[in-house]
C-alpha cells in the first residue's frame, strides 16, 4: 500500500489520514466542548471536512472515482444538514430560548 503522504506547506510530508482525523477531532471538540449552538454547527461541518479529506485521498490512492462521487454526495448532504440545523437554531432564537446549549434544560428527568 503506498504511503499516505501529502506534500504540506511546512516542507515535510504529512500523513493524509492524520490530517483528516485531526480535522475530525477538531470538529468533535467543537461540538462537544463549545456552548454556542452555532459553534457546534461549525464543528459538524469540520467533521465532514475531515471525512471528505480522508475519502478524497483514498479515492486517489485506489484510483476509484466512486470515492470522489461519495465525497460530492457527502458534501451535499452536509449542506442540507447545515440548512436544517440553522433552521432549528433560528427557530430556537425566535422561541426566545437563546443560542446556548446550556440553556436547553427544560426537558429532563
Amino acid at each position: 500500500m503506498p504511503p499516505r503522504l501529502l506534500p504540506s506547506p511546512w516542507g515535510r510530508e504529512v500523513n493524509a489520514l492524520a490530517v483528516g482525523l485531526a480535522l475530525f477531532a477538531a470538529g468533535l471538540a467543537a461540538v462537544v466542548l463549545r456552548g454556542q449552538l452555532l459553534a457546534m454547527l461549525l464543528g459538524l461541518e469540520l467533521m465532514i471536512a475531515g471525512v471528505s479529506v480522508i475519502l478524497t485521498y483514498e479515492a486517489g490512492v485506489f484510483g476509484d472515482p466512486a470515492g470522489l462521487a461519495a465525497v460530492v454526495l457527502i458534501i451535499a448532504i452536509a449542506a442540507a444538514e447545515a440548512v436544517v440545523g440553522l433552521c432549528l437554531i433560528l427557530g430556537l432564537h425566535r422561541a426566545g430560548l437563546g443560542g446556548r446549549a446550556g440553556s436547553l434544560t427544560e426537558l429532563r428527568e
Binding site: V31, V32, L33, L104, T105
Partner: protein, 622 residues
C-alpha cells in the same frame, strides 16, 4: 387419512358459541347467553361420544391438523391425538360438563354476572377439551395455562367477596409453581429432542435418552401435583370452594383437577422409564389420600368436606398410577367425575334451597323430609364413592385396591385406610345432613331456621342424570377397559384393568363397612359428638382447621419466600387482593434514579455518545 368431522367440531362449536355469546348475546340479550353455549355443549358431547365409539373399535389418530405458524426455523403445528385414554376422559368431561352447564343455568339465574359466568365457564370447557386432545407437550401446556386462567376467573367470580379474590389468587399462584415446572420440562424436551410430540418424544427416548430425563419426569410430576392437589400443594383446593357451585362441581371435581393425573397418564412411558419416579408418585399419592381423607372427617362446611374428599381421591389416582396401573387410575378418574359432580351439585342444591351460597353442617339437618330427591341422588353418589358393589365407584376403587395389594402391605394399608376414611366422611355427611334432628330442633351451637326446599326441575334433572351414571356406569367398566387399551402409546399392559379377586372385594367392602359403621355410630347413636369435641378442645379444632399445622407451614414458607424475593430482587411486591403484580419497590426505582442523567444538558448527551463510541472502538480494536 381423513380427519372426522367430530374432531373439528370439538373446537369449532365452542369457539363459535363463544364468539356468538360474546359479540351478539352479551351486549343485547345477556340473559340468553347460555343458548349458544348449551348448543355447543350438546354438539361437543355428541362429537366426543362419537370419537369414543370410534376409538372403541380400535381407531385412533395422532396427526397435525394445521399449521399454527411457520416463521423462519419455527414450525408449530396444531395437532390432535385421539386414543383410548384420551377419548374416554374426553367423553366423561364433555358429558359431565354439558350437564353441569344445564345445572348452572338454574343456579346462576339470579346472579347479575350471568353472561360473564357462562363465557368463562365455556372458555374453560374449550380449554379442557383442547388439552385432552393435544398431541404435543407445548400445545398441552398452552391449554393447561388456559384452564388455569379460567380457574382464576371462575373461583374469583364474585369479585365483591374478598375471600373469593384471595382464594382465586392463591389457586393461581400455587398453580404457577406447577406451570413453571412444566415450562422448564418442556424447554428441556425441546432442547433435547427438538419436537415435543408425544409419539416423537417417547420413541426418541428409547433410542437416545436425554441426560436430563429424570429432571423432566420430576418436573412433570411437580406440575401434576400442583394442578391435581397432591400433598404439599393441595391447600388451594379447599379454599377454591369460594366459587359458585357449578364451578366447584366441574372444575374441582371432575375435570380441572384431573388434568394433572391426565398429564401423568399421557406421559406414562416417560415416567415409567425413570427409575424410582413411579414410587415417588405412589408415595405422595398415598400420603395425600390418607391425610386429606382424615381431614375431611372433621370439616363442617359441606363443600369443604367434598373438596378434601376430592384431594383424597386424587391421591388414590396418583397411588394407582405410581403402582403402574394407569388403567385403574384413569377409570377412577372417570367414575370419580360422575359421583363427585353429583355430590357437589347436591351440596349446591342444599345451599340454594337455603338461599345462601354455601352451607355448613351446623345449619342443616334432617333434610330427608324436605329434600327427598336430593337425598336420593346424594345417597346414590355416596354409595358409589364408598365403593360398594355393584355401583360405579366399586369398580374403580377395586382396581386401586388390587393394585395396592400387588404392591405390598404398606400400600395396601394406605389404600384401605383411604377407602375406609372415604366411607366414613361421606356417611357422616349423609347422616348429619339428611338424617338426624331437623334444623329447628338441633343441638348444635348456631342454628339458623332455614326453609330448605327442593331445587327446581332444571337444576334437578342434570343431578338425576349424573346420579344414574354414578350408579350404573359400572356396567360400562369392561367397555371402558377395552377402550383404554386401544390405540395406546407403548406400555399397553399398564392400561389393563384389574381382574376380579375375592380377597380384594372382601377387603374393600370391609373397609367401606367399617367406615360406614363408625359414621353411623358417631352421628346417629351419639349425636352431637361432632360438636362436643369442638367445644371441648378448641385447640384441637384450630389444629384441624389449619390442616394439622400444614397451612401454618405453608404460610411460613410463603412469607419466607416473599421476604427472600424482596431482598434479592428488591423489586417485586405482591398485592394479594389484586391479581396483578406491581413492581414499585423503592429499590428498583432508586436504581433507576441513580442511573438517570439529571439536568438534560445537550453536551452531556454528546459526551455519552462519544463515550459509547469510544467503548465500541476499544472493543473493536482489541
Amino acid at each position: 387419512m381423513r380427519v372426522p368431522l367430530s374432531v373439528y367440531l370439538l373446537f369449532l362449536a365452542p369457539t363459535a358459541a363463544l364468539a356468538f355469546a360474546f359479540f351478539l348475546f352479551r351486549p343485547w340479550w345477556p340473559r340468553g347467553t347460555h343458548w349458544p353455549i348449551l348448543a355447543s355443549c350438546a354438539v361437543v358431547s355428541a362429537a366426543s361420544i362419537d370419537l369414543a365409539a370410534k376409538a372403541y373399535t380400535g381407531w385412533g389418530m395422532d396427526a397435525p391438523l394445521g399449521v399454527w405458524m411457520a416463521i423462519g426455523n419455527w414450525d408449530v403445528y396444531f395437532g390432535v391425538r385421539i386414543d383410548g385414554v384420551g377419548s374416554a376422559v374426553l367423553a366423561m368431561v364433555a358429558v359431565v360438563g354439558a350437564l353441569i352447564h344445564v345445572y348452572a343455568v338454574g343456579y346462576m339465574r339470579e346472579d347479575p354476572g350471568f353472561s360473564r359466568f357462562f363465557l368463562c365457564f365455556h372458555l374453560f370447557y374449550l380449554a379442557m377439551i383442547g388439552m385432552l386432545v393435544s398431541n404435543n407437550f407445548v400445545q398441552f401446556y398452552l391449554f393447561w395455562e388456559g384452564v388455569g386462567l379460567c380457574s382464576y376467573l371462575l373461583i374469583g367470580f364474585w369479585t365483591h367477596k374478598p375471600a373469593a379474590r384471595g382464594a382465586a389468587l392463591q389457586a393461581f399462584v400455587v398453580n404457577r409453581v406447577g406451570d413453571l415446572a412444566f415450562l422448564i420440562a418442556i424447554l428441556i424436551l425441546l432442547k433435547s429432542y427438538g419436537d415435543t410430540r408425544f409419539k416423537h418424544v417417547f420413541e426418541q427416548m428409547a433410542y437416545q435418552g436425554a441426560p436430563l430425563l429424570g429432571l423432566v419426569g420430576l418436573l412433570l410430576f411437580v406440575a401434576a401435583a400442583s394442578k391435581s392437589a397432591q400433598f404439599p400443594l393441595y391447600f388451594w383446593l379447599p379454599d377454591a370452594m369460594e366459587g359458585p357451585t357449578p364451578v366447584s362441581a366441574l372444575m374441582h371435581a371432575a375435570t380441572m383437577v384431573t388434568a394433572g393425573i391426565f398429564l401423568l397418564a399421557r406421559s406414562w412411558p416417560l415416567i415409567s422409564f425413570i427409575p424410582d419416579l413411579p414410587w415417588l408418585i405412589a408415595a405422595v399419592g398415598a400420603v395425600t389420600a390418607v391425610f386429606a381423607g382424615a381431614l375431611a372427617c372433621f370439616q363442617t362446611d359441606l363443600k369443604r368436606i367434598l373438596a378434601y374428599s376430592t384431594v383424597s381421591h386424587l391421591g388414590l389416582m396418583a397411588l394407582a398410577l405410581g403402582l403402574g396401573r394407569v388403567g385403574a387410575a384413569v377409570l377412577h378418574l372417570i367414575m370419580h367425575g360422575f359421583f363427585k359432580a353429583v355430590l357437589f351439585l347436591c351440596a349446591g342444591n342444599i345451599a340454594h334451597g337455603l338461599g345462601k351460597s354455601a352451607a355448613d353442617i351446623s345449619e342443616v339437618g334432617g333434610l330427608r323430609r324436605s329434600m327427598p330427591f336430593t337425598l336420593a341422588c346424594f345417597a346414590a353418589a355416596a354409595v358409589s364413592l364408598a365403593g360398594v358393589w355393584p355401583f360405579a365407584g366399586f369398580f374403580s376403587k377395586d382396581g386401586i385396591i388390587e393394585a395396592a395389594f400387588d404392591g405390598g402391605p404398606v400400600w395396601t394399608a394406605f389404600a384401605l385406610a383411604a377407602a375406609s376414611l372415604g366411607a366414613f366422611y361421606i356417611s357422616r355427611m349423609l347422616f348429619l345432613v339428611f338424617f338426624g334432628p331437623c334444623a329447628e330442633q338441633g343441638a348444635g351451637p348456631e342454628r339458623k331456621p332455614g326453609h330448605p326446599h327442593e331445587a327446581p326441575a332444571q337444576m334437578g334433572m342434570p343431578v338425576a342424570f349424573l346420579a344414574m351414571l354414578a350408579l350404573f356406569a359400572g356396567l360400562l367398566a369392561p367397555g371402558i377397559g377395552r377402550l383404554l387399551a386401544s390405540g395406546a402409546l407403548p406400555e399397553a399392559e399398564s392400561l389393563v384393568l384389574a381382574h376380579f379377586s375375592w380377597t380384594v372385594f372382601a377387603a374393600g367392602t370391609a373397609a367401606a363397612g367399617l367406615g360406614f359403621a363408625a359414621a353411623y355410630y358417631l352421628t346417629m347413636v351419639r349425636p352431637g359428638w361432632d360438636w362436643e369435641w369442638r367445644r371441648g378442645h378448641p385447640g384441637l379444632e384450630s389444629l384441624v382447621r389449619s390442616d394439622l399445622g400444614w397451612r401454618k407451614v405453608v404460610s411460613a414458607v410463603a412469607a419466607l419466600g416473599w421476604r427472600l424475593a424482596e431482598w434479592v430482587g428488591g423489586a417485586l411486591d405482591h398485592r394479594t387482593l389484586d391479581g396483578l403484580i406491581e413492581s414499585s419497590a423503592p429499590a428498583t426505582v432508586s436504581v433507576g434514579g441513580a442511573l438517570s442523567l439529571k439536568g438534560g444538558r445537550l453536551n452531556d448527551y454528546l459526551w455519552w455518545i462519544l463515550a459509547g463510541t469510544a467503548a465500541l472502538l476499544g472493543v473493536a480494536l482489541c
